[in-house]
Amino acid sequence: MYITAEFVLAQSQALASPEIDAERAAQLAMEVNTLLQKATPLIERYRDLYADPFAFLSALEELSIAQLPKEEPHDGRQ
């Protein structure tokens, strides 16, 4: 996924989101594209059709009481 500065500018005008100039549109496009580029691998790795985007609290509660396997710390450097 990739967005252009022109798209940011056009979207800003069409949706009446905050008014920006071409220079700021270019900055924002770069910021968003960097974010999309970095976010995509993690999203792809964990993508799950049946995951619920609004069940995070349940996940935290479950993890607070889950029996985790007791493992030795890696490599033992101190």
Partner: protein
Amino acid sequence: MMAGSELHWMSLTEIALAIRQREVSVSEVVEASLRRIGAVRPIINAFIDVYADDAREAAEEADRQLRRATPTAPLFGVPLAHKDMFARLGKRATGASKIMADVEPKATATVMRRLDDAGAINVGALNLSEFAAGPTGHNEHFGHCRNAWNPAHISGGSSSGSGAATAAGAIYGAIGSDTGGSIRLPASFNGLAGLKPTWGRVSRFGAMPRAWSLDTVGPLTRTVADCALMMSLVAGHDVQDATTSRLAVPDYIRSLGRSVNGMRIGIPANYFRDGVSDEVDTLFEEACRALQDLGCRVDIIEVPDPGEYDAIANAISKSEAAAIHSRWMRERPEDYGRHGYSRTESGFHIPATVYLDALTVRSAVVRDFVTQVFSRVDVLATPLLNFEVPTIADTDERDPGRIPAMVGRITRNTRPFNYLGLPALTVPCGFTANGLPAGLQLAARPFAESTLFALGGAYERVTPWKDRHPTL
């Protein structure tokens, strides 16, 4: 009668006990606090408003009650003040913005009500980064908040006033909010304890939102014991906040006495110490040795790369902030400061599908992190900030295109725990050559705040940092 300086450097726990035991009256404590506020306010600019008349009236009433019976409320008569973003009937919470001053609260925030019920006296409203959007404490409307140890340096944000006012001895503790580090940064930069609780542990009802999925509310205090005491009063389910957990709240105060002998501490081999300055790393190593001396087993471990979370955390925080601010940013752009506005703008252009993806994978990401890390250790220890606390001038970035990088450097070690929703405590671990405090960050599995208080409290007892105060 105790001298003012004796009073304002007492901890919250100590002053509450002194009042209960009638060693000092509430009016004396409140007057000392107001005098101290008057002395430090022009230097650190931590207060947006001071409620002197209300505080004196509440103190007189408290003293009348004190003459009749021994109070049981844990914070009876203790002066507190909070980040000016918590709704309170009859008062305006400005969010340190021009815009929020026009918003009339329809209810009192749950955390404020719980502290009122515990007997605390609210003496003022504290400065913050505009709309809680920024890790430095810059504010173009109310003036920059300044560090209590050196006013040329940043107080940290966004709970900048909460950090500076508590460190300056003007109040005994404060509530802040943390979306990417906003409790831990100002706590650490001002030499305080500060807790970002597990997401869902403390009600956000009545708290001005920055990003609903990441926002947490918690205390900044001069000692870990004070932090545990304040948390014990504000934590727990709230029917007015559906995102609060129904899990029972442990006895945080009791956890302070728990032995940490044998506790497993992990020092991340990757990410958290990348580019750390020699000075900060030396202080961090010394802190780890102190933990070993306490009987903890300290090991270096690999952790899942937190750098990967930054982008998806930003997708969430910027999208949600843009939704919260869209109308005001369209209609009143001139009323925003440079930092708050520019940090929210990109949220309008992040695809909704990416925002939802970032939320959808979150449970699996935290499950992996917790399983991989907390099966091996009980607590993860990191430096809070990898370099010395910077000056206000050095961080007064004027080019909006460069603000994200500056913010990223400051929040590098704090932000991962917001995406993960995990609890993280900062405690002071020394001073760098510029005279500013450094912080040790301790993180644990969900709802394990007790473990953090046990370890943080034990560490604090064997180090001298909590007894040092700024010379304002």
